[in-house]
Symmetry: C2
Subunit: 73 residues, 2 copies
């Protein structure tokens, strides 16, 4: 997701469109990316550390984006 201090024009566009479509009560919208990564074998701590490294080096731009990694079996 874009860091809180980073402008997010896509999110703002969505937020602007919502009232026109009849949706109210939304105070903020942020748009980011989501990656679903399928792995071979067991998710060990070492594998998870590798996925964190992927997220940091390839999947996100750490200058402007935060990321979280979560595991689904």
């Amino acid at each position: 997701m874009p860091k809180p201090e980073i402008l997010d024009p896509q999110g703002k566009a969505v937020q602007g469109a919502l009232p026109r479509l009849g949706f109210t009560g939304v105070t903020d919208v942020r748009q980011g990316k989501r990656f679903e990564i399928e792995l071979d074998g067991e998710v060990t701590d070492a594998v998870l550390a590798q996925v964190e490294k992927m997220a940091e080096t390839l999947l996100s731009n750490p200058v402007i984006e935060n990321y979280t990694v979560s595991v689904e079996q």
Copy 2:
């Protein structure tokens, strides 16, 4: 996220780049979007139904994408 039967060239590009960066063991990558929506007041069933409707009509393209809605307090 793109539906399973939909081609995902961005995900495939990421998957192709991973071995070149030294990451192994990844069998599939899918790239989609994530929206963080802040709401005014309590998240009731009615509000949640409205957010589902937003996801279906504005935030996703239901022809090619699936979506899930989850609540974080």
